[in-house]
């Protein structure tokens, strides 16, 4: 089914207090698509969403809904509805009145409002909660009210700003499925902002990876994972070992002084490249075969062991179901489809070496933890 674009962002730039938040952003979103804007805190994903919602006006560039330029259209005139990060339910209204809010503003008939509210509350499994005040609801229930309230307006596009960030893991997984199912059955466009790569991969039709106010890559979850365009994407979406290599010719790449077969072509002869090897693609074999290295740390993760292996001073992360104790000398074999080649970028050398890797270190340096709100606040300050 060929889908037509419903929202077009053309060359959008925006700065707050002289600090560039978005730069030259181009994005086309198709009707009925589930699009996720994914990136670390401060990457501009929430800002992009707020521009689509009408809460921010770009410094330059155009926002199109269909064929109409809507740069100056205020939020209340846009055919989109938003699910806010902390739900933003009206504290002075009960569940029914919250869901009915949009329809009352539009002066719909009472009977019609009642019917829609009932249908919406049924959809989000909150039948019988009509008279409850919102402060007596749990986080998950408030989230459902927010969804019902937004969808009751029958929007063409639903904007979701980290809607599940405040929920616990189990509830988050359930809501991911529910949202995905809702989107499928309603057939409306979802634009979803998150910093959680797993969420993005499991829910989206299209993932837009952002960093530093720019789009790094747009593609299906599979493309993004298997064919990352640069070291940032490779590292942000899952774990990656990223090495310096040289592309000798099509399908031939050299790293660690050896030549490997690969599936990539179209690079210049002897072009320096980044080589990505996913930790779960690596096959461990007895020492003496292939590359040889020493295990320096093992962490049991349930499904697999995270094994750090030192190859000639460069440490790799290998995920394996077999246990190899620290100090063991092992060999690894790489198949051509385990190797993915990327052009050099400004992110080269910043990611993909597990020399200093430890859980704590990773969390300390993970910009997405505990900083989720900063971007939203910054965006709020500006208007």
């Amino acid at each position: 089914m060929e889908k037509k674009p419903i929202i077009n962002l053309k060359d959008i730039s925006l700065s707050f207090d002289g600090e560039k938040v978005l730069e030259g952003l181009n994005l086309s979103i198709c009707d009925g698509e589930f699009v996720t804007l994914l990136g670390p805190s401060g990457c501009g994903k929430t800002t992009t969403l707020r521009i689509i919602g009408g809460f921010l006006t770009p410094d330059s560039g155009d926002v199109f809904f269909g064929a109409n330029r809507v740069n100056d259209l205020p939020p209340y005139k846009r055919p989109v509805n938003t699910i806010f990060q902390r739900y933003a339910l009206f504290p002075h209204l009960n569940v029914y009145d919250n869901v009915a809010f949009g329809m009352r503003v539009q002066k719909k008939k009472k009977a019609e409002i009642a019917k829609t509210v009932e249908r919406m509350l049924e959809m989000v499994n909150l039948k019988g909660f009509e008279k409850r005040t919102v402060s007596t609801l749990s986080g998950g229930q408030q989230q459902r009210v927010a969804i019902a309230r937004a969808l009751a307006n029958d929007p063409k596009v639903l904007l979701l700003d980290e809607p599940l960030a405040a929920l616990d893991l189990k509830l988050r997984k359930d809501m991911q499925n529910e949202l995905k199912n809702m989107q499928k059955s309603l057939g409306i466009t979802f634009i979803y902002v998150t910093h959680d790569q797993e969420e993005a991969l499991s829910m989206s039709d299209t993932v837009v990876v952002m960093d530093g106010g720019e789009i790094q890559q747009i593609g299906s979850p599979l493309d993004i994972y298997n064919e990352p365009v640069n070291a940032f994407v490779a590292d942000f979406i899952g774990e990656s070992n990223i090495l310096d290599g040289v592309m000798l010719s099509d399908y031939k790449v050299k790293f660690f002084g050896r030549v490997f077969d690969c599936l990539d072509a179209g690079f210049e002869k002897d072009e320096p490249v980044d080589v990505v090897i996913r930790p779960e693609d690596i096959n461990i074999v007895p020492a003496g075969n292939g590359l040889t290295g020493t295990v320096t740390s093992v962490t049991f993760k349930g499904v697999h062991y995270e094994t750090i292996v030192d190859f000639y001073g460069f440490k790799w992360l290998i995920q394996t179901t077999e246990y190899h104790p620290v100090g063991e000398v092992i060999g690894i074999v790489l198949d051509p489809d385990d190797i993915h080649i990327m052009h050099k970028s400004r992110y080269s050398g910043m990611f993909g070496d597990y020399s200093s890797y430890s859980e704590e270190f990773d969390e300390m340096n993970d910009p997405t933890i505990d900083l989720v709100d900063d971007e939203a606040d910054a965006a709020g300050e500006a208007d």
């Binding site: 919602g53 009408g54 809460f55 205020p74 939020p75 209340y76 989109v80 509805n81 938003t82 806010f84 990060q85 902390r86 933003a88 339910l89 009206f90 504290p91 002075h92 209204l93 009960n94 809010f101 949009g102 009352r104 503003v105 539009q106 005040t133 402060s135 309230r149 937004a150 307006n153 709020g380 300050e381």
Partner: protein, 270 residues
């Protein structure tokens, strides 16, 4: 639990000595004559002060209403401005309160007098003096000036708690500026309006100094009458107590009505 009650004991004693006993004395005086015999005469004599009482309520209502009109938009714009600006504005509003309100009222007196600053200023342009002092207008001006901060601060403290995202949600759901105000901001600021009105209306009703300084002898409010009965040339503690009791009952009724509105607001929101 018992410990917490024990900690309240000094306050209970304080309340007994300085609130309950004096109230009892007021009630005693209100229902006795000069000889200490029980009588309804004082209560019945209140009829003579009906005009003054009515004027008090009228001036109180009008001044409170003007305060609300001035304070509401101001409080809202302060609550929506940046942290630094907010602090400065709140500071500026509090600042006049550092000076005694009698002094501030006397300052207005010298501004408004027939040969006061304003009339002198107008005189330079050949404008004849305007009667400003000793008018109801001057009294209301004094009331509004003195009690405005008590309206702004409770409004501000409620409004600053209105989450910005709630306003955005209302816009997102199709509300224009007027609808955002009437459907979200106004209902959410009702508790501030209620406490603002309470904090302004009640002291205005019972005040006496402002009327005397800015209204002269022409405008008397119930507070002035009560003061006269105790400290005037012909003191009558019994009638004075009856008037004070009456005022108290009427204020209690007003507060009751007010709280009823507040509860309604809470029932919807809470």
């Amino acid at each position: 639990m018992m410990k917490a009650r024990g900690a309240a004991a000094p306050f209970a004693v304080w309340m007994a000595i300085f609130t309950v006993i004096p109230l009892g004395v007021v009630v005693y005086y209100a229902f006795t004559n000069a000889d200490g015999a029980f009588t309804f005469e004082n209560i019945l004599s209140i009829r003579e002060y009906a005009g003054s009482l009515l004027r008090s309520f009228w001036i109180g209502l009008l001044s409170t209403f003007i305060c609300l009109l001035l304070a509401y938009p101001l409080a809202f714009s302060i609550s929506r401005s940046k942290g630094r600006v907010q602090q400065t504005m709140v500071m500026l509003i509090m600042m006049p309160m550092w000076m005694n309100f009698l002094l501030r009222t006397y300052a207005w007196q010298s501004l408004l007098e027939n040969n006061g600053f304003i009339n002198q200023f107008l005189g330079w342009f050949g404008i004849p003096p305007i009667q400003m002092i000793n008018t109801t207008g001057a009294v209301i001006l004094g009331m509004v000036y003195n009690f405005l901060p008590f309206m702004i601060l409770p409004l501000y403290s409620v409004m600053v708690k209105i989450d910005k995202s709630v306003i955005e949600a209302a816009q997102d759901l199709g509300s224009n500026t007027m609808q955002v105000f009437s459907r979200v901001i106004l209902p959410l600021s009702v508790p501030g309006i209620i406490s603002g009105i309470t904090m302004v209306f009640i002291p205005i009703i019972s005040t006496f100094a402002i009327t005397q300084i800015l209204g002269g002898s022409l405008i008397n409010m119930i507070g002035d009458n009560i003061e006269m009965k105790f400290f005037g040339t012909a003191p009558d503690y019994n009638v004075g107590s009856a008037l004070a009791l009456l005022l108290m009952v009427m204020l209690l009724i007003s507060m009751g009505i007010m709280n009823h509105f507040d509860k309604n607001g809470e029932e919807v929101g809470a």
